[in-house]
């Protein structure tokens, strides 16, 4: 949760690279079903990352995030003429632009509110959009709308990829996934990223330091919406169908649970959460019939139980669990003769004085040793 010394997890820097290499090789390893499944996983990963930008980084608990996912999806559906292909580049840009614009307009009203009101108002706006698509015939109503021909990615005659081919769709999803990941990493390190973190931690203090927080929250909300639009677009592209469920609160709730399950306020956590969620969904639906009870049919019961247990025992999500294990392992291996090894190589006594009361600055405990001791006590 807290910033860690940069030299501590050198291995961790290589994990994203290894994941991308693995994902690149995947289509040569498995069949169509799993390629499409992993593509969907990456799409949900993009969606979850976009929500976590609001939820975990800016502290904006948006309960209507599916609205922007749905707008991205409908943008492609509505831009695809009957029995013809839409232009991939144009429709993708439109999906990003429209979902970002919708988030800007909705955000203009909602980022003024706080706490429970923010949750309710974001939900209300998303439900308004849901019913626009649900109750009117502009995009097929409740039946949704089909995209018969996948978009055409040709650039003045040159065709870089063919979206009728599921492997090509997979690589487009992978490219977007990697780009969004890098973009968010860069964004969160930027002055803007530090400001939204400050707003999450203590917004009134940010104001008294001279930041007009409204603008930063609004821009953050719009960026989150635009990235959710990419996910919705890719989803529509992959399966060729869009319906009002794309904007529904069920999806908003599901993506929020993915983020919380994986670990809020991290970039990798939401990806992990979305992946575990989808694997569970798939696995639980395949459960056998035991003693006349079809366990797979009631998969939502098992999923619900898992979510309850995860929220009870994993307050920092799955990623938090991983770092606890790593810290515990690190503390066991680096404790020597009552000394705790600090990341910079120096040691402090294991019974280093606590800094809770009356201690002067000189006796302040470095966070690393606090973490190590806590981990060691567990």
């Amino acid at each position: 949760m807290s910033p860690r010394p940069p030299n501590r997890h050198r291995l961790a820097h290589w994990i994203p690279v290894l994941v991308v290499i693995g994902l690149t090789l995947l289509p040569w390893i498995t069949d169509k079903f799993y390629v499409q499944f992993v593509a969907k996983m990456m799409i949900m990963g993009i969606f979850a990352m976009s929500l976590d930008l609001l939820l975990g980084h800016a502290g904006l608990v948006s309960f209507g995030h599916a609205a922007f996912y749905g707008i991205g999806a409908y943008a492609l559906a509505l831009m695809t003429p009957a029995y013809q292909a839409a232009n991939f580049w144009l429709s993708l840009a439109a999906a990003i632009g429209l979902s970002g614009l919708a988030a800007l307009i909705i955000g203009f009203f909602v980022v003024r509110t706080h706490g429970i009101y923010f949750i309710m108002v974001t939900l209300a706006f998303a439900q308004m959009l849901f019913f626009v698509f649900h109750d009117t015939r502009i995009a097929g109503g409740t039946d949704g709308i089909f995209i018969d021909i996948r978009p055409d990615a040709s650039l003045s005659g040159w065709v870089p990829f063919d979206l009728e081919n599921f492997v090509h769709v997979y690589f487009v999803a992978l490219a977007c996934f990697a780009l969004v990941y890098v973009l968010l990493r860069v964004l969160l390190r930027s002055p803007f990223g530090h400001v939204i973190s400050g707003i999450r931690v203590n917004e009134p203090r940010m104001r008294s330091l001279g930041y007009r927080t409204f603008g930063y929250k609004l821009v953050c909300f719009s960026i989150g919406g635009a990235i959710a639009g990419i996910a919705g677009y890719l989803s529509a592209l992959q399966f060729g169908v869009v319906n009002p469920e794309f904007l529904g609160w069920h999806l908003s709730a599901a993506v929020m649970m993915m983020v919380i399950l994986g670990g809020m306020g991290t970039v990798a956590g939401p990806i992990l959460g979305a992946s575990v969620w989808m694997v569970l969904e798939l696995g639980l639906q395949d459960l056998p019939t035991v003693a006349g009870v079809d366990l797979g049919k009631h998969w939502q019961l098992w999923m619900g139980s898992f979510i309850v247990l995860a929220s009870l025992w994993l307050p920092n999500g799955l990623l938090g669990l991983l770092s606890t294990w790593r810290a515990a392992f690190g503390a066991r291996t680096s404790q020597t003769g009552g000394q705790v090894l600090r990341p910079d190589g120096s040691t402090v006594p294991a019974d280093y004085p606590g800094a809770s009361t009356g201690a002067s600055i000189a006796s302040v405990t470095p966070l690393a040793s606090v973490e190590a001791r806590q981990a060691g006590n567990e």
Binding site: V201, M206, S208, A355, G358, S360, I361, V364
Partner: protein
């Protein structure tokens, strides 16, 4: 020195010929909370190079006054002036950008972040818009230096990488002041900066305020009377939202009204 309240504008400007506008001033500032008048017709001034201490028993309206000055509360009537300019309609962020820095009585910092990042965020607020999305925030040397200077001034540089939540209460109070300094304010509003500090830390802060006095206008709210009388160039005593007395520390100490209302009580309680 029994000046009628609201009247020391003339007295102060007269005593400082050619001083121009006070760095911070209020004109008949009033704030009601329902039927309660928390701050009533308060007119005070704070000049650069001066520490103006506001004292008074609990409930006197000191915290309401500082919230009115920083913009966190809107006055029912009256004006707040910064460098002679009316900022009553401005929000806290705008006043901060005009050179008003405040610290809080109840520590109000970024607990999960490092000491350095607390000050760095404060310093970043002075570097124009933060709508910058690509370069790492920590790569701006000027901002880093400004943050570091605030840490050095408050004696916090050794704790720079510590997470604020792990610090002692006294050290967190110093972070509070360091953050305020990192915004390079011209006017400092300090709400009980010594509250909860040990003797050694208090002495450090008193020394710091003495150094800051040179090029800042400081409005100090403080209960530690030794520190107040050691630091203040001017004292205002508030009781029940009103200014009881305002003047030089010696005059305040000698005032029978103040002794009856405030200092006397203090002497009795401390035996």
């Amino acid at each position: 020195m029994n000046q009628p309240r609201g009247n020391d504008h003339a007295a102060l400007t007269a005593s400082r010929p050619g001083a121009g506008h006070p760095a911070l001033a209020t004109e008949s500032l009033t704030r009601h909370f329902g039927g309660l008048t928390a701050v009533n017709q308060v007119s005070i001034q704070c000049h650069s190079g001066q520490i103006h201490a506001v004292i008074g028993p609990n409930g006197a309206g000191k915290s309401t006054l500082i919230n009115l000055l920083s913009g966190e509360l809107v006055p029912s009537s009256g004006k707040v002036l910064l460098d002679g300019e009316d900022v009553t309609a401005q929000d806290p962020a705008q006043r901060s950008q005009r050179g008003l820095g405040r610290s809080y009585q109840k520590t109000n910092i970024f607990a999960p972040l490092s000491v350095f990042e607390n000050c760095r965020l404060a310093a970043q607020s002075r570097a124009g818009s933060s709508m910058r999305f690509f370069r790492p925030a920590t790569s701006n040397r000027e901002i880093n230096q400004r943050a570091l200077a605030a840490l050095v001034a408050t004696g916090l540089e050794a704790a720079s990488e510590c997470i604020v939540a792990t610090l002692s209460h006294g050290a967190q109070r110093q972070v509070e002041i360091a953050m305020t300094l990192a915004t390079a304010p011209k006017v400092l509003l300090l709400d009980e900066p010594l509250a909860g500090m040990g003797a050694e830390e208090s002495a450090q802060v008193v020394a710091l305020l003495n150094r800051l006095r040179g090029n800042h206008a400081i409005l100090l709210i403080e209960h530690d009377m030794d520190a107040v009388f050691a630091l203040a160039d001017r004292l205002t005593v508030m009781v029940n939202g009103n200014v009881l007395e305002s003047g030089a520390p010696d005059a305040i100490r000698a005032s029978p009204a103040v002794q009856a209302a405030y200092l006397g009580v203090d002497e009795i309680t401390h035996g």
